[in-house]
């Protein structure tokens, strides 16, 4: 392990008890170029991409994947299929191609899953109630 420098920190959602780590994210619709900014909870229990509520999904699923490429997730209430659409996302100014997902039925909120989290160096500073993106110091 080397030395890491914090690039940017985001405050936890202190309304949640216990407080939850949040990350600022923006998504851009690939067809229209429309952009939306929001904060998503960093959820290491979700193995997927970026979960969004149905209304957001409907607005930004300009390039939806075929049904056969929707992924099925194991949950405590049984398997759940998530719709999936291509978007460009940005975290801390870094833009990347990824997917937004939402359940076929039921509710969802903004969650960042491990398929995205694993691409970033993220530190959870619990006592400070801040989640920070890091850069390795060379």
């Amino acid at each position: 392990m080397g030395i890491y420098r914090t690039l940017s920190c985001h405050s936890y959602d202190i309304e949640s008890k216990p407080e939850r780590p949040m990350i600022h994210v923006s998504i851009t619709g690939p067809a229209t170029g429309r952009e939306m900014k929001f904060t998503a909870a960093a959820d290491t229990g979700f193995s997927g991409y970026l979960l969004v509520p149905m209304e957001t999904y409907q607005e930004y699923s300009e390039f939806e994947l075929p049904v056969r490429d929707f992924l099925t997730y194991r949950t405590i209430v049984g398997p759940i299929v998530l719709r999936r659409a291509r978007v460009t996302a940005a975290i801390l100014g870094e833009r990347f191609e990824t997917f937004i997902e939402t359940p076929l039925v039921g509710v969802a909120k903004f969650l960042l899953g491990r398929r995205i989290l694993n691409a970033f160096r993220l530190a959870l500073l619990g006592p400070e109630k801040r989640s920070c993106l890091l850069e390795e110091q060379r």
């Binding site: 949640s16 979700f46 979960l51 490429d69 949950t75």
Partner: protein, 124 residues
Amino acid sequence: MDVIIRGMRTRIYREFKAQANKMGLRLSDALQKAIERWLLENSQSSLVMNDPNQLAFAKLASQIESKYHGKYVAMCGGKLYVAGTLEDLGGQLKEAGIARAVVSHVGADESGEGGEWLWGSIER
């Protein structure tokens, strides 16, 4: 995986086997296709299948897979758009004034089991 099915009705099984044979399919492939279709018709995914673009894509899926492997394809209004990159495909759609389509990176997009969605997102 190997599966043993007991109690099949002889006539249905024979008809199924004959039809698979006629179509040049192995019995396991024909059975898999039948199961996939049944699941699609009876699962939550059928809600999305009301979308005409999804329906049109599903109809041409096997043709698209064999013809455009590795390409980006989009289905919209019954028309198929093909490009080498997502940017090129986006350009084609923009030119055609399309803001919503079913888009696939043929043979590259993962499908099936996505993993788990556990306790992390559940709150009191």
